[in-house]
Amino acid sequence: MSLGPYAPFIVTSYVLVTAVVLFLILWITFDYRRQMHRLHELEASGIVRRSGRSAADTR
């Protein structure tokens, strides 16, 4: 597959899209872990929801 004289423009476009999509995936994954960590910390310190159910229970 030859990309011709404009290969840098094509490759840069695909690399950029890959980088931004990967950034979004990682950001959302780490955000999920951070929120779960905070919830576990709060519950471990004795703070629970009025319903008594674990706030970290997502099932």
């Binding site: 404009y6 094509i10 899209v17 931004v20 999920y32 919830l39 519950e43 629970v48 159910r53 706030a55």
Partner: protein, 247 residues
Amino acid sequence: MTLTTTLTDLANPTRFLSLTARVLPWLTAATAILLAIGLYQSAMAPDDYQQGATVKIMFIHVPNAWLAMFVWGVMSVAALGTLVWRHPLADVAAKAAAPIGAAFTFLALVTGSLWGRPMWGTYWEWDARLTSVLILFLMYLGLMALWRAVEDPSRAARAAAVLTLVGALNLPIIKFSVDWWNTLHQPASVFRMGGPTLDRAFLIPLLVMAVAFSLLFVTLHLAAMRNEILRRRVRSLQMMQASRKAA
């Protein structure tokens, strides 16, 4: 089960989290498979007789451009949900969608610019299509800043919903800018009266990539909504902790 019953059930954040936990692995797998197929088809697509290999940029530029507008449309429906129906998850949906929509808009602008340089001879032109998409990007950033600036989520939700609905006026301007004004950007070649003007060799990879990116959005959006619900639970538990300390 009617749509109303489904929406009522999903108004319960716990039920929504349970549904998300079940659906996300399947959505992730479907997105990965479709992206792999779309990328393979994009790589194998022939060169265009005028644009050469740069036509491959279309397979990522166009889905991102469509999603830039679609995500704002989703946020507009969510804004109505906040203001009219007061659906508990409506502002969660809108807030979670904004950074993803901003990312798609950024990618549409940059890949368009990288496609424009070899084809038009310039990275940027202040024509109606490019400028209206840039305004959409700035509106996304403005909304994200608004959510960060207002501490109370319900107050922020109402202000953001109004701003979102006002911003929705930009969507028909973006769509029809190429018809209403003389622009450097080409007119619509897929969703147009009389059917697509693209050859099947380009249309099929483009549609596969569009579906793959749409699934990517749904997957990321559900995961971001789940995070936002958890963030609000953290906030309410922190407030309970603070009030206990004060008592």
